[in-house]
Assembly symmetry: C2
């Protein structure tokens, strides 16, 4: 029940930036070096590296340096964790909608029964909500 996970904070914060989302999207297609990743962006390397670092500390991306080139790849766990969060919320939301619908149905039925009992009151306006 305690959903105070600092990981989610970082994952969502990381994904709030279009540059970083683009990096994640790129990495979904396969690993790449920092240089390759940086290429499409009109941004100085140090600025770009900050984004990589943010992605890394959020757990979304892993990287490894061999020689003078650092290769980055996606770590699906964090991504899946965030997706889970959405699915949980949606489940709760949908359960509520179901309950609400059930409630409306119940009201409707009661109204029908009342109408059957004393038809003269069928045209009564809306009723209390």
């Amino acid at each position: 029940m305690a959903n105070q996970s600092p990981r989610l904070d970082q994952v969502f914060a990381a994904l709030a930036d279009p540059t970083r989302r683009a990096i994640v999207m790129r990495l979904c297609a396969g690993e790449a070096s920092v240089g390759e990743l940086a290429d499409p962006f009109a941004m100085a390397l140090p600025s770009f590296m900050k984004h990589i670092h943010v992605l890394e500390t959020s757990g979304l991306v892993l990287s490894e340096k061999s020689g003078r080139v650092r290769t980055c790849r996606l770590s699906p766990d964090a991504l899946l964790g965030a997706e889970d969060w959405f699915q949980q919320q949606r489940a709760i939301w949908e359960a509520r909608l179901d309950r609400f619908e059930a409630y409306v149905m119940k009201l409707k039925k009661e109204k029908e029964r009342a109408a059957a009992k004393r038809p003269s009151r069928t045209t009564k306006r809306k009723g209390s909500e």
Copy 2:
């Protein structure tokens, strides 16, 4: 293909804060007034209202004031939009994994065929990557 949606920026940024995620979770269970929402948090009202406002401009939450009380409710669209983003990434990721697996299978088969051809070389080490 242009996924530069400023909406996603705002939605993810909104969800990067634990207070705001808690608000969203609370609202999944049904609408509530600002006061009700603020109650569990040890935070001055003006600070809290900022969170509400962030949620509102992100499109996650709608609110309406009647009398002196403002009632908030979830707007599922933005939530679903964000969930979609994850599902798209996952689809790409999984397609890649499939392709990778297919590639590995192909390698394996070739190796087997080679082994069948000249069994003496079966114990050769790893091979070039």
